[in-house]
């Protein structure tokens, strides 16, 4: 699958309270969560984020609370993928489980706010069309790729228990 969108930049240690504050965790509606995504640290984020846009961050993205509302809020405001230098453990597994694409890229800092990016999820290739640069990311291990291919953990489990 090919994803295309502009880069929306964040720094290091973006926690899940930043991504979606606890006061909004009273719904399971992704669109509703999306309206408040990143509100505490970037109040105009949900207005700024266009369909398909890509969050680009530093190290330890998604640290803190286990709230799955975080990847769902990102999805809810139209974010198609997250690129970061590293991801916190629970955010990593939540993103796999709910089918939120994410890529680990050591050179994430080279990407600038607003750069137009194209991601080929199949090959793990990220193209920065604005800067004319191409990056290759590591593919997921086979086990995780199976879950991703099924569109998330629940589909994968349903197939396993059949």
């Amino acid at each position: 699958m090919i994803l295309k969108g502009k880069a929306l930049k964040f720094g290091n240690d973006i926690n899940t309270d930043d991504i979606i504050a606890a006061k909004y965790l009273v719904t399971t509606d992704e669109k509703e969560l999306g309206k408040h995504c990143m509100e505490n640290i970037s109040p105009d984020f949900s207005a700024k984020a266009g369909p398909g846009d890509i969050v680009v961050a530093g190290k330890n993205f998604g640290c803190g609370s286990s709230r799955e509302h975080a990847p769902r809020a990102l999805k809810g405001c139209g974010i198609s993928a997250v690129i970061a230098r590293s991801f916190a453990g629970i955010f990593f597994r939540n993103s796999i489980n709910v089918g939120m694409p994410f890529l680990q890229l050591e050179e994430a800092d080279e990407i600038k706010e607003g750069d137009l990016l194209e991601i080929d999820l199949g090959s793990g290739i990220i193209k920065n069309l604005s800067a004319n640069r191409t990056y290759k990311t590591e593919p997921f291990p086979e086990f995780l790729q199976q879950i991703v291919n099924e569109g998330g953990l629940m589909n994968w489990v349903k197939k396993c228990i059949k």
Binding site: N15, A22, R67, N94
Partner: protein, 432 residues
């Protein structure tokens, strides 16, 4: 092959004869936990799966604790989703308001988690039970939904980092200071997806409550769990918690049959070892806006406060409250400052009443509340407005964690919190 305690628990629950860090495994769970924030998503996913019955009605624990007693209409709806599901599926370990407590204090107290268990919870502080020698870790709602179906979870086998604490702790220094010191040293990403194993003479002498505090905050360094090998202190705690629950219908009796040797092998492989002499440690405080932003309390003594919160899954246990009461006895909270004290469970609440701690808190001018996570995550019972500053015994001081993104949260142990409430500014308990 020598193995760590974490390896041994994962092997016993996955039926593997050997495991290596980085490998993906599927393992059988002893307990799967959800709360009023995370379980509604899991219940929705479970229902969507078409599966009619949960895998085991004794091994699922549901606790409405975050926004409970319901703080508003939407929270009431979330809590009702849990209550209805528990009724529908005959979940025996559903704890209604009046029986409930903050989940990570409640489960050990109720004897629902044992040394050697494999536990997941849709809450990041599930790592708390590592203090009992469990592999316990926070996951998301979809992981919980899957566990409802077949009682399993996938894991990437983590490597272990060993933390050895040597020396003798100073007065007023406890579990909170040890874990803040650790996070300050290694950073909020210092143990991403690693097991943190706490050991050494200081841990051997630390009581269970202090150990729970340490394991609780392993996640603040990115740790998958914070594990401590069970010893006499652990087994005595387990014995007592079991005794108090004997005969209760929800008692889980069918925990893993395999005998697990609950010690890391002497020559087990650790990814890294940190060894610290903590004899000179003074009480520590984590400044805004990261738990790793740690300073000795004496360096912060000019900082004035609007609110002090003593409670949470980190420091709302009886020894925390006894320590706070010792400091607050016969004293008054600084006029204009709000002191909010929240015992973590009903049992602890009752102990506070019986031991006269509740009276000390109220006479000092503090609020003494029913158990709830409440203010820790900016839910209710002590939200901060713009420009306000709070010192809390909780676990996170992220931007806006307790309310306004323009408020500030400092983290410390109960002794510093109580003393600071009296002075109206951050102080060393010795300065009272």
């Amino acid at each position: 092959m020598p193995y760590t305690l974490s390896d041994k628990i994962l092997m016993a629950h996955s039926g593997k004869k050997d495991i290596r860090p980085g490998e993906f495994i599927e393992a059988e769970l002893d307990i799967a936990l959800g709360n009023d924030i995370t379980a509604p998503f899991a219940i929705e996913e479970f229902r969507r799966s078409g599966v009619k019955k949960v895998f085991n009605n004794k091994k699922i624990v549901l606790v409405p604790d975050h926004f409970a007693p319901a703080k508003d209409l939407k929270s009431a709806n979330q809590c009702k989703i849990l209550a209805d599901f528990a009724k529908d599926q005959n979940i025996l370990n559903y704890f209604e308001v009046g029986c409930m407590g903050i989940e990570h204090a409640l489960l050990p107290e109720k004897g629902l988690v044992f040394p050697g268990n494999l536990v997941i919870g849709a809450d990041s502080h599930t790592c708390t039970y590592g203090a009992l020698g469990c592999f316990a870790t926070g996951v998301g709602s979809t992981d919980l939904a899957r566990a409802f179906i077949d009682g399993k979870c996938w894991f990437k086998v983590p490597s272990t980092i060993k933390f050895v604490y040597k020396g003798k702790l100073n007065k007023w220094v406890g579990g909170k200071d040890l874990i803040l010191y650790t996070i300050g040293k290694i950073g909020v990403d210092g143990a991403i997806e690693k097991v943190m194993e706490f050991k050494g003479p200081v841990i051997d002498k630390l009581g269970m409550d202090g150990r729970f505090t340490m394991s609780n905050m392993a996640i603040e360094a990115g740790g998958i769990t914070g594990i401590i090998e069970p010893d006499e202190i652990t087994w005595e705690y387990v014995k007592q918690s079991h005794k108090s629950q004997a005969g209760h219908k929800s008692q889980v009796t069918s925990h893993k049959k395999e005998k697990i040797d609950l010690r890391s092998d002497k020559d087990a492989h650790y990814e890294k070892t940190y060894e610290w002499d903590v004899s000179k440690l003074e009480p520590l405080v984590a400044c805004p806006h990261l738990p790793s932003n740690v300073q000795p309390v004496s360096e912060l003594s000019g900082i004035t406060l609007d609110q002090v919160v003593i409670g949470s899954c980190t420091n709302g246990r009886i020894s925390d409250l006894r320590l706070a009461a010792k400091i607050l006895k016969g004293k008054k909270v600084k006029p204009g400052l709000r002191l909010i004290i929240i015992p973590a469970t009903q049992k602890i609440y009752l102990e506070c009443v019986k031991e006269g701690l509740a009276e000390i808190f109220v006479k000092a001018g503090g609020v003494f509340s029913t158990p709830t996570c409440g203010p820790c995550l900016g839910g209710h019972m002590g939200i901060l407005t713009e420009g306000e500053r709070c010192l809390a015994t909780t676990n996170r001081n992220f931007i806006g964690r307790m309310g306004s993104p323009k408020s500030e949260v400092y983290l410390a142990g109960p002794a510093v919190a109580a003393a600071s409430a009296v002075k109206g500014r951050i102080v060393h308990p010795e300065d009272l």
